[in-house]
């Protein structure tokens, strides 16, 4: 479960304006809890594929979100991120420039000593950006996520991922070794004690090969990737200020998605334990402990980059460390997102995302 609740897409609009100063806690809280004519997620609705791989323009926000932990032939570790956000000014679609949908792309490559970021913005309805469910294609400018569907299986089982910016770029081929994971209650994911929720599913079982180029020099890479799909209209409760989100690949082949939504009174914590064969077990809110250990300066702010993650019922107790302290996404809405490693009762790698700092 991936708490990119902030609907970056929509926030990015705010961020466009607020610029590098970023969005404070109030900004996230301002995302609002009433849906202004937008559709609201309903518990019990059965998601259907490939239809639900495509956009849901009646919902305010939506994203197609891939993070990849990669390794070069010489053992160097890297991280890659490819994200397409959709944000609707009003529900629905329109012809040409009248389309109320806004699309935002974020791409990043992280190494031990550098973090490269790029952003693309565009309008819906004119062909610059969009998503088609089947045959699957998601794009903004020349950044693409294309499916190469095998004869049987899901549309998203084989995916080509491309992004190119001034100083970096990548072309990755993703092959799923397991099936889609529905987060929360069959894809209905609750985000606050006040009932805010989203539709949320993931594909955490991708194996990756491809090329990452930095400054024009291509490097062959292999690794693991995680796709998150989420859409909603009222992602945050009014008192929530930001979140810390983990996707973890355990050495055993198991996966964990865990998040903590910070609010003025404390936090709403949630996690999902995914077995190696794709069975999900939601953890009770009290059963997950996320504890910051070390802060570092990133993007001019103090951000907790090392964490202790405990799930007592599963005997999990690990500490995480980032590949690069400074994995700061200096996009119109800035946030921290980067690859992490962990040791403790088990070891592995994953991604950490933190917003609202």
């Amino acid at each position: 479960m991936n708490v990119r609740y902030a609907a970056y897409a929509f926030i990015a609009l705010w961020g466009l304006v607020l610029g590098a100063a970023g969005v404070g806690a109030q900004g996230f809280a301002g995302l609002g809890s009433d849906a202004h004519g937008f559709a609201v997620p309903q518990r019990g609705l059965v998601l259907s594929f490939p239809r639900d791989h495509g956009p849901h323009p009646d919902f305010r926000i939506e994203w197609w979100y891939v993070t990849a932990n990669l390794q070069a032939a010489d053992g160097r570790r890297l991280g890659a991120q490819w994200t397409l956000f959709r944000s609707a000014l009003v529900p629905g679609e329109g012809q040409g420039w009248a389309d109320p949908q806004i699309w935002i792309g974020h791409a990043a490559v992280t190494t031990a000593d550098s973090h490269y970021v790029a952003e693309r913005l565009g309008r819906g309805g004119v062909g610059q950006a969009g998503v088609v469910a089947d045959p699957f294609e998601a794009w903004i400018d020349d950044w693409q996520m294309d499916a190469n569907r095998p004869a049987d299986g899901d549309v998203l089982d084989r995916v080509e991922l491309r992004a190119q910016a001034q100083d970096f770029g990548y072309h990755l081929t993703l092959a799923a070794k397991g099936h889609l994971i529905l987060q929360g209650d069959r894809g209905y994911s609750v985000k606050s004690s006040m009932g805010q929720a989203s539709y949320y599913y993931s594909q955490p079982f991708y194996e990756v090969r491809g090329t990452v180029s930095i400054g024009g020099a291509p490097v062959a890479v292999t690794g693991r990737a995680w796709l998150d799909r989420e859409w909603s209209s009222q992602p945050l409760a009014s008192n929530q200020t930001g979140w810390d989100w983990f996707s973890l690949h355990l050495a055993s082949g198991e996966k964990i998605m865990a998040f903590r939504l910070r609010d003025t009174g404390g936090a709403f914590t949630s996690a999902n334990w995914i077995s190696a064969d794709g069975k999900t077990t939601p953890m009770a809110s009290g059963d997950v402990v996320l504890e910051p250990l070390r802060k570092a300066s990133a993007g001019g702010r103090e951000v907790p980059v090392a964490w202790r993650v405990k799930i007592p019922s599963r005997g999990l107790d690990i500490t995480t460390r980032p590949l690069n302290d400074n994995a700061w996404m200096a996009t119109s809405t800035p946030y921290w997102e980067g690859p992490i490693f962990f040791e403790g009762t088990t070891s592995g790698e994953g991604y950490l995302e933190m917003t609202g700092y």
Partner: protein
């Protein structure tokens, strides 16, 4: 010592306050006219540059369609998907009620950062901008106009030129009914190096580099060149004043100079003191001049702005901002001009022997040789002018003809006057009359500069006046030919246009569509009009020449008419084929006159135009009806369709509007004319004043022989009038030559059309009357002095050292 000497030099001005005033006014006027004109030009240019950078984003390279006037939305998507960092623009004219604005639809998400015209202060503003309700970002003046008619929220942003509105591309698309097609595409600087070439991605586009000068500046160049020429002329005339005033003051201080030198002031320090003195005056008058120039410019600018708007559609604010560049330029001109015009006097002081006689003499003693040399220079310049007129080409050459002609006539003037006076002298038998002519001739050198200034301003007046009147007459006749339809109706959108096409034929004699597109013809973007096959055009359209069967070929679609501008500038000849878009070539079958339009234009058959541009806007119509019924029909249309009044225009008011544009142009010219004449009058006054001060020795003997002071004064008046009169007569041919150059050379080079020249002697009479009054005024003060001069002063001439 130095200080005391300096004060002694300055004391001169305390005794001659009028001379001081003359000097100051001379420099002030010269500077004021020069810097006033410069201020207008600077303001207009700055406003073009600002408009271009804001409205056209011309700081960035652009992509434009090779053919037709729009870019399909899909081409934009293709460019983006190929990795190009580009942003789309949809723009066009839109009417909000009675107000027409240039609507520029931008896409704020992709618009390159360096070109964001406004920075929304918060997120809701950006959302408002993009949202369906829309937002118009406009200047305060435009906001005031659109307040009640825009039908959408307005946001005021100071930097936006008047009559333009920025809005979201979605809103522009909706209002202009473009169905997504783009006007142009803006490119960000610093594109990725690995992108596929433009020819591969979008072969239908051409790229235009960022440094292209704003179109508007190029278009209005000739207008500003005209203004500059005027300003410079006025400046030169002003320098004549300074020249005579400094010359006089130096003459009268010869005694002081000698005394100071005898007391031990070195030549070096005296020259320095005089230089400081004159520069001090220049500085003071320069500041005054720039200030007056500012007010002058403020007074003229609304007229200029209206002209530029009417003639070129250029938006220039009617108010002036104080710009440091013309402050500096004005002061520099004042200092340099003063230095130039006092150089000769300073030079004389340096070369004056220390013990030279201190008596004043006619300072510009001009020998017959000088006169002959001047005449020779005049003849050579005249030759150059004639040569340029027939062999030269280009606007610069046109102005070269003008300049050489004016200078030549100025140089030839003294010789002409001298000849005339000698002739009159030969015809006189009365002793007093002979003395009168001879004495006048003697004064000629002292007055010749002022007379030259007078000649120039009179000639310019006659020349410009002739041009204006010829223009007006031709233009009015042409308007009558051209505006034949009784009513002109503009629909607000295509649906309304369709209803009009349905309704109008039942209520009128004929409905003539007036549809046009912008196309690439001979390398320029220009308007292509389609006309219906109707007697309205066959019988009235003003053709300059054409092949037989012109209108049939236009109607068939294989013939096109081009305007005079295209004919002259591009050398398009009847019978030649030209390409109007990809794969559409037509034969030029005729040339028509198209006054007031600075650009080329072509006319084709309506059916052919619609066939090649099926999506053109079909909004404008001319309506033929019995003129008596036209007002009723107008009311009927207004009622039936609810159109704003400005969308249904009757012929009479259209003519009135067109004329108003030209009247404005010439009101500005007229004002500058009057000002130059005033400066010339003042130059004459200064010269006469100078002469009156040193002429006593020449008059005293005549007085001693029994001519009364009153008669002497009357003779002075007669002399001045005679000189004015001769100069005025000389100015007429010069003025006519000037008018010819303006109409047949400068106008053709600047605008691309030639006007027939017509002569208006009645205007000259009026000008003569004004000149007469000015001459009487200029001689009044010196003559009053003479009439009341103390006989003792006259006697002293004989008693003194001379």
């Amino acid at each position: 010592m130095i200080w005391a000497a300096f004060l002694a030099l300055l004391s001169h001005w305390r005794h001659r306050p009028l001379q001081l005033v003359t000097l100051i006014i001379g420099i002030t006027l010269a500077t004021a006219l020069w810097s006033g004109v410069q201020a207008i030009n600077a303001e207009a240019r700055a406003s073009y540059a600002r408009a271009a950078s804001i409205l056209d984003q011309n700081g960035l390279p652009q992509l434009l369609p090779k053919n037709g006037d729009t870019i399909p939305m899909a081409v934009y998507a293709k460019l983006r998907r190929a990795g190009w960092s580009v942003s789309p623009v949809i723009e066009g004219d839109y009417r909000f009620g009675p107000f027409r604005v240039r609507l520029i639809g931008i896409e704020p998400l992709t618009m390159p950062i360096e070109n964001r015209i406004f920075a929304p202060s918060d997120s809701s503003e950006l959302v408002d901008f993009i949202s369906k309700k829309g937002l118009l970002v406009v200047s305060p003046a435009t906001a005031a106009r659109l307040k009640d008619v825009a039908g959408m929220p307005l946001k005021i942003y100071e930097d936006i030129p008047d009559d333009a509105a920025f809005t979201d591309i979605g809103a522009a698309d909706r209002l202009l009914n473009r169905k997504g097609s783009l006007s142009r595409i803006v490119m960000a600087t610093g594109q990725r190096p690995d992108l596929p070439a433009l020819e591969t991605v979008a072969p239908e586009l051409i790229s235009q580099s960022a440094d292209d000068r704003p179109d508007m500046a190029r278009l209005t160049d000739s207008f500003h060149l005209n203004l500059t020429a005027f300003g410079f002329l006025a400046f030169v005339v002003g320098l004549f004043i300074v020249y005579s005033a400094t010359g006089l003051s130096f003459q009268q201080r010869r005694a002081t100079f000698r005394t100071l030198r005898s007391l031990g002031v070195s030549l070096q320090s005296m020259t320095a003191m005089l230089l400081v003195e004159i520069m001090l005056f220049a500085l003071i008058s320069g500041v005054l001049g720039v200030l007056i120039g500012y007010f002058l410019a403020s007074a003229l600018l609304p007229g200029v702005a209206a002209t530029l708007r009417g003639l070129y559609g250029a938006s220039v604010p009617g108010s002036l901002s104080f710009r440091p560049e013309w402050w500096l330029a004005g002061m520099a001109m004042a200092l340099a001009g003063t230095a130039l015009s006092s150089f000769q006097s300073l030079w004389r002081v340096r070369r004056m022997p220390i013990l030279a006689a201190a008596q004043p003499r006619a300072w510009a003693g001009m020998s017959a040789i000088t006169l002959r040399l001047q005449a020779l220079a005049g003849a050579i310049l005249f030759g150059i002018s004639v040569f340029l007129a027939f062999a030269g080409s280009g606007l610069a050459s046109g102005f070269g003809v003008l300049g050489a002609l004016l200078l030549a006539s100025a140089f030839l003037l003294p010789a002409f006057l001298s000849r005339s006076l000698r002739f009159a002298e030969g015809r006189s038998s009365d002793a007093l009359a002979v003395w009168f002519w001879a004495d006048t001739r003697l004064q000629l050198p002292g007055l010749s500069l002022a007379l030259m200034a007078l000649l120039l301003s009179l000639a310019v007046n006659i020349g410009v006046g002739t041009m204006v009147s010829s223009f007006r007459l031709t233009f009015l006749g042409w308007l009558d030919q051209r505006l034949v339809a009784e009513l002109y109706v503009t629909a607000r959108d295509e649906a309304e246009a369709a209803r009009l096409r349905e309704w109008l034929p039942k209520h009128s004699d004929a409905v003539l569509p007036i549809w046009s597109v912008e196309g690439n013809v001979l390398g320029d973007r220009l308007q292509i009009f389609g006309v219906a096959d109707h007697p309205t055009y066959r019988d009235h359209w003003p053709l300059l020449n054409g092949l037989p069967d012109v209108w049939n070929r236009v109607a068939q679609g294989d013939g096109a008419l081009v305007n005079e501008q295209l004919w002259r500038v591009k050398g398009v000849q009847p019978g030649q084929t030209i390409s109007l878009s990809d794969g559409w070539t037509v034969t030029v079958v005729g040339i028509y006159s198209d006054y007031g339009n600075p650009k080329g234009q072509a006319i084709v058959g309506l059916d052919a135009l619609v066939q090649h541009y099926p999506n053109l806007a079909k909004l404008r119509y001319g309506i033929r009806i019995d003129p008596a019924l036209a007002p009723d029909l107008k009311l009927q249309i207004l009622r039936e369709f609810g159109l704003p009044e400005s969308n249904v225009i009757d012929q009479a008011s259209l003519k009135r509007q067109s004329q108003a544009v030209f009247e404005q142009t010439f009101a500005v010219t007229g004002a500058l004319n009057v000002l130059t004449l005033a400066v010339a009058g003042f130059a004459m006054f200064a010269s006469l004043l100078t002469l009156s001060g040193i002429r006593l020795p020449q008059l005293a003997p005549v007085w001693a022989m029994g001519v009364r002071r009153r008669d002497l004064a009357l003779l002075e008046i007669a002399r001045t009038l005679a000189l004015w009169c001769a100069t005025f007569i000389a100015a007429i041919p010069v003025g006519l030559a000037l008018a010819w150059v303006l109409l047949a050379i400068v106008n053709v080079e600047a605008f691309g059309w030639r006007l027939p020249m017509m002569i208006f002697p009645a205007d000259w009479l009026w000008l003569g009357a004004v000149a007469f009054v000015a001459s009487v005024l200029s001689v009044l003060l010196p003559v009053m002095r003479l009439a009341t001069v103390n006989p003792a002063d006259l006697l002293r001439v004989f008693a003194n050292e001379r």
